[in-house]
Structure formats: C-alpha cells, structure tokens
Amino acid sequence: MFKGNFIDNLPKIYGTYTGGFIVFIILMAIAEQAGMTAKTIGILFVAFTVCIYALIGYLSRTVQVDAYYVAGRQVPTVFNGMATAADWMSGASFVAMAGGIYFGGYTYMAFLVGWTGGYVLVSSLLAPYLRKFGCYTVPDFIGTRYGGNFARFCAVVVLTLASFTYVTAQINATGTIASRALSIPFELGVWVGLVSILLCSMLGGMRAVTWTQVAQYIVLIIAYLIPVFWISNKSGFGFFPHFMLGEEVARLGDLEAQFGLVKNAAADIKAAGVPGGLKSIAVSHAGVPEGGMAAWKFISLALCMMVGTASLPHILMRYFTTPSVKAARKSVAWSLFFIALLYTSAPMLATLSKISLIDPNLPTGIIGKPIAEIMQIEWVNAWINVKQAFIADFNGDGILQLNEWFMRGDVVVLATPEVAGLPYVISGLVAAGGMAAAMSTADGLILAIANALSHDIYYKIIDPKADVRKRLLVARALLIVIGAAGAYIASMRITSILGAVAWAFDFAMSGLFFPLILGVWWKRATRQGAIAGMIAGLASGTAYLIYVYPKFMGNTPWLGIDHLRFGIIGASVCLVVMVVVSLMTEEPDKATQQMVDEVRVPSGKTILGKQH
C-alpha cells in the first residue's frame, strides 16, 4: 500500500489516519446507541488517541542528531504548518478561548488578533533567516551570531523562563482532561498526562514530536469543528455558522439591553457562596467600549501577544525543520491557515453557546425562566454538582436573571454540545480534542527547554567533545527531568498563582525579540549589546511585573500596562539598552558581518553545518 519513502507517502498515511479516526467516531456513535455508557465512551476516546500518538512516537525513534533536533530538516510545508498549529494551540486555546469570548466579548478578542498577527512578524522578520542559519535551537543562533558562551547562556535563561511558565499550565490541562475522562484523581491524571506526553517525544525528539503533532492537529480540529457546525445546523442558526450568525450577534445585543448587563458586587458574590472561578455575563458581546484608554488596552494586548509569538522558541524551532528557506516562509502561512480554522470558529461557538442559553424564545434558553424549573434540567444539575456552574437568586424572585447565572469559561466548549442536545459521543470527541491540544503544546515546550539545555548548555558549553550517543542520552534524560518538574508543580495545584499564559509571551518578548531580529537586520549589533539587552529586558520586565501584579506588590499600572502587558516595558528597555551598548562597543568583526550577509541570502549552504 505504501511504496517509496515515508515523506512521499505522508498524504496517504495521514489520509488513512483521518479516515480511521472518523470510522472510530462512527463506531462510538453506534456503541452509544447500543447502550454503551458515557463513561466508557470517554475512556475509549482518550485511550485510543493517546495510544496512536505513542505508536507514532515509537515508530519515529532515532539515533541521529539532526533527526532528533530538527526532524532531519525534511518536513514538507503543509505538514509543518499542521504541526505548528498543534504546537501553538494549547489546551487553553482549545478549552478556554470560546469561554473567554463568551465572558469578555470584543475586549477579549484582542487575544485572537494578537495570537494570529504575530505570524506576520515570524514570516517576514525571522523564520526564513533562522532556517538559513541552520541552528538546532534558538540560543544556538544567539550564541553563534553574537559569539561567546555567555550570550548563549542568557538566551537559554530567557527561553527556559518563558517556556516553563507555559508548560505547567499545559500539563495541568492534560491532567484535568485525563482525570475527568478516565475518572481518576487529578494528581494521578497529571502523571498519566506526563507519561503520554513523554511517549510522544522521548525516543524520536523533534522527529517524533512533529509526526505526533500532525496527528494531534487532525484530532483537535475535527473535535472543534464538528460541534460548531452540528449545533448551528441542529438549532437552525445556519448551515455555515461563520457567515450566518450576524442576526444572532445582533439579537445578543438586544437581549443584553433587555436584561441589562449587571456587574455583581464582590460582597454579594461572596455572600451567595459562588465557587471561585465562576463568572456571570457582565460585558457586551460585540459592543466596543468607548474611549482612548479602551482602544489602547486592546491594541497594547494585541501587541504583546504578537511580539511574544515571534519570540517563543517552541514556535520558532518548528521552522528549523523545513527542507528549505522558501519552504520555511510558506510553512508560516500554512501554520496560520490551520490556526485560523480554529480561531475563527471560537467566536462562533461563543455566540452559539450564549444565544442558546440566554434567548428565552429558544427551547434551550434558561434566562428569564423560573429557577425551580431550570434545576430540573439534567445538564444544569450535572455541572452545578461539579461546581462548574452556579445559580444565585440575588433578588429572590425565583426567576433566573442574566447576572444570577454563573459558570466557568471552560464549560462553553465542554457543555455546549450537551446543552444543544448532541449525543454523548461528541463530548467524548471534545475530550480527545482537548487532550490532543494540551499534549501537543506541552511536547513542543518540554522539547524546546530540554534541547536548549542539552545542546546549548551541555554540548556547547560543558562537554563539546561528547559523542552522539552521549548527547542524545543527556537530551532524553533532561526531557524526563523537565517534564517531571512541570508535572510536580502542576500536581501541587499552585498554577493559579504562577500567573497567566500571557506571561510566557511577555517574558519571551522582553528578553529575546530584539536580540533575535537585530541579529539579522542590524549588522552593527554586538555581543555586549545583545547580552546587556537580554539581561536588562528580562530584569526590567520581571521587576515591573512584580510591581503591578495584584498578588505581588499590586501598584497602579502605568498607562494601563498591567501584568498581562509587562513585555512592553521589558522589550522597550531591551531595545534601548541593546542599541546604546552596541553603538558604544566596537563593531562586530569582518567574519561576523559576512555571516550576517550570508544569512540574508536564501540560497547556498547553511551557516552551521548539517551536523553540529
């Protein structure tokens, strides 16, 4: 069936895989009709997909350095696009984004713009040049362009800080989903999640992660799109929701005016005993808040997310795996295309979910109806029992008002299929999709950290004479250590105080953005400048974060730059310090300038050798 080499057969292999997955979904649907319990379906969905990923991970095992670090540089553009999309879209994107839009409306959607626009920077400023450079890791570029182990070391520090902030949240998400689907305690779920993650990456490094990420993308996109289209069609909102929900968005505006957007006082919420993390709708869905400050908050958040995207090593390193510079550029475009399939669907899911719940004219609507009646509904009961939803009758009239219905953001993705009356097989599918999203991102992040430590610290700094076997052994050992550290922190349930996912973007942009782009675009940038920039950027960004974050010092943010946006401070300081110090120090030597010239030309040999 599959003649010739693996790469030529990719479309066939993944086509068969996709077909197989769809057959599996249909079998589960039949099994549900035949009386299989919801619990069994959930277990089968998660177990089946994880076993497939582990199998791919095993088949991709390798003992070669370039296969381990950059998948042998032979990943075709479209497949690398899918792998990057899975690498990029985390458990949070999958489970929490629609919920974020549900509660935050237009204001929250700055994240959508920010998490997509960054790819324009990646393609025009960085990816093709880093590919031409031929590095294995991001600090590899910094270390070679600027020269010296200290510059390399600083880049590793920024990379580790940014990626580790992100990875605990991902392991946490795999733990949550595993524990729910397999009915095991959360602490155990975290370790089950970690083992699944390591199965995908341990034996084959980047090569194994690449091919599992493609498989994970296929599962997560199917799991996200099927419910959106199904709900829209079943409830009669339109055949193709993306083009047909204009009326529903307008209707939400009318309903908001009718019910009133009431922001509950914190004291009332506390008195009613609303569980932590649950919210009620208090922000307009599509309305734009008035004023310059609101507009600035929108664009400053988008800016941080965009610049952060272009500095996150686990994303940049995906473009080291393409066969050519040209392919790296095209691959960025495909990545964003695959990401856009999910991101443009999230607002539609949020709209569908909201209209289903709050329109009293719809059979699924609960707002404006007697609370006693609502409590009879099965899904309401189920989610209230697990403290994911809550009803607080503030005015005591026995009727549910908009501000009296509380739920957690995740419920939008997890419960909307149930609310719309879809079969349980869809909920099982969604669990498999969430697991795929969280696992693929965790794999990319853990690999980015372990590769930087094994290649840049161990091989380049500590033991440059180490042979291939030893290097790969160290790389794998580090993978386990870092994964275990992430899982240990996640299992202590302290992720809420570790801060938002947005912090990873701010850390990365504070320390890495300007050293990376100026390394390509400004020949005059010197080693001293880059080192000073990385240290000053990271230090000032972190100091500002401590200064404004409510759980630390909690001072009033300056110009609306709060803890989600501290990268603006860090990156600005980094730029100024790097330029000033570079100009004060002697310009880079001839060899370095020639190297920069070479990077700018796509043809010819890479700067660093195929094996280094």
């Binding site: 959508l112 713009v113 539609m348």
Partner: protein
C-alpha cells in the same frame, strides 16, 4: 551596488510594505473600533467581525502574498535555492 546589496534593498522594501499592511489590520482599525462598529458586514458589527474573522483572514492572505513576492525577488537576483541544498 552589488547584486547582494540590491537583493537586500528589495527584501527590506517588501518587509516594510508587509509590516505596514500588518499594522493596518492589527492596530490601526482597532483604534477606531467604536466608529467601525456602526457599520456592518454580513450582518456582523464591523469591529466585531474584524477581530472574529476579518483581520485573521487578512493575516493569512498577507503571509502567502509575502512568501510569493519574496520568492520572486530571490529569483530575480538568482538566489533561488537548489533542491539539493
């Protein structure tokens, strides 16, 4: 000016145009969000539409366009990569 320098000049020019378009769809239009929202597109309020779909689609198209333009520039100066590189 050498061939390499001319190639880099054109590459820089394309980068700047790309970033201007990026700035328009990523920032400029959202500075006027509330004005934008008074008009509508396919029934959606315009500012809402732009962040839900419009700008995202614009970014995808922009990167494909950029990649093709850059390939043409590389070709023009004879810097196209050989398949066996």
């Amino acid at each position: 000016m050498s061939n390499k320098e001319k190639h880099w000049e054109k590459t820089k020019g394309l980068m700047i145009i790309t970033l201007i378009i990026w700035f328009v769809f990523g920032y400029l239009i959202f500075m006027f969000g509330s004005d934008l929202n008074t008009s509508s597109f396919m029934g959606y309020p315009l500012a809402y539409y732009m962040c839900a779909q419009g700008s995202i689609i614009a970014f995808v198209v922009l990167i494909f366009w950029f990649a093709n333009r850059q390939e043409k520039i590389d070709e023009e100066f004879g810097f196209t990569e050989k398949e066996d590189d």
